[in-house]
Symmetry: C2
Subunit: 159 residues, 2 copies
Amino acid sequence: MKTIGFDSHNHDACISDALGMATDICAQQKLQFTPVRRRVLEILLHEHRAMGAYDILEVLSSEGLGSQPPVVYRALDFLVKHGLAHRIEGLNAYTACAHLDHEHVPAFLICRTCKAVAETDTGIAQGRLGQAAASAGFTIEKVVVEAEGLCPNCTGAAA
Amino acid sequence: MKTIGFDSHNHDACISDALGMATDICAQQKLQFTPVRRRVLEILLHEHRAMGAYDILEVLSSEGLGSQPPVVYRALDFLVKHGLAHRIEGLNAYTACAHLDHEHVPAFLICRTCKAVAETDTGIAQGRLGQAAASAGFTIEKVVVEAEGLCPNCTGAAA
DNA sequence: AACCGTGATGTTATAACATATCAATACGTG
DNA sequence: CACGTATTGATATGTTATAACATCACGGTT
Ligand SMILES: [Zn+2]
Ligand SMILES: [Zn+2]
Ligand SMILES: [Zn+2]
Ligand SMILES: [Zn+2]
């Protein structure tokens, strides 16, 4: 398990790697990785941060790839459904998956200042929450774990 | 730590206890527990489930306590800020706090069918997420933990 | 009493996020 | 090509949340 997001890295390689993996995943599962879907993933990858659907739409629109909300929501639905992106509930926003290479239950560290998002992994369902659910007779289908706070870059410069 | 929410209980007592505790808490902290704020908490307590702001507003409105969104949002802000209620990020909804008697980091079990919400507690910040944050240099200020699934009452009757 | 600061409300308008619906088009497969 | 399915285009609407500004109610000060 590696937490990805705040460290500096070769971002061009990071993007093209992820895009390549996404292409493979779609090919394997016979999913259509259409231009809009690919471009939305690219946009999300380009920023390592959470973006609102309308932020993304603005970019798409400026490129002639669609200008109505359904365009971006359909692409996001596709990406989220197939694990290529995740929805950040706490922000009503979206971010590219940083762990395409393996199954995972994502957990996020979200900077409240710069909105950078780091994705990590957690075995939460096996921990206290899992116990609580079991003892309450509750069947967990999906878990949201999101931590808000300050990223390393913003900790010093906090207001 | 007790998970509260799906078990049947003396709900009238449950409501009046919580309302009493809330009154005490506001008194201690010299907060104004005004009619609208009290009524919103009552409404949330009455249902042990997540309610949207506009659902609450509808009730308020029918009682002459206010008819515009800011009325309910201000009351909810107050309640959430002071720990009397919690926001359920996964639903863009709100629920009364079920653990007024002690400090806690809430975690929720949310039934996707009936929207019942059980509130439990988790030491998440001390677990793997805390480790990941520490090693990434991230300062956690707030954690959202929400599990969606089926409550005991809906598990059998699932569609 | 007149004045002022603070917190709470009232009110209008709008921003931000998301979906319903239906027509049109592309795509793979036999 | 003909068929069913997936995707896209387009319009409208629904849902959640906040900005902005006016007003009220209360307590302390002069
Ligand atoms: Zn990167
Ligand atoms: Zn930051
Ligand atoms: Zn109760
Ligand atoms: Zn249920």
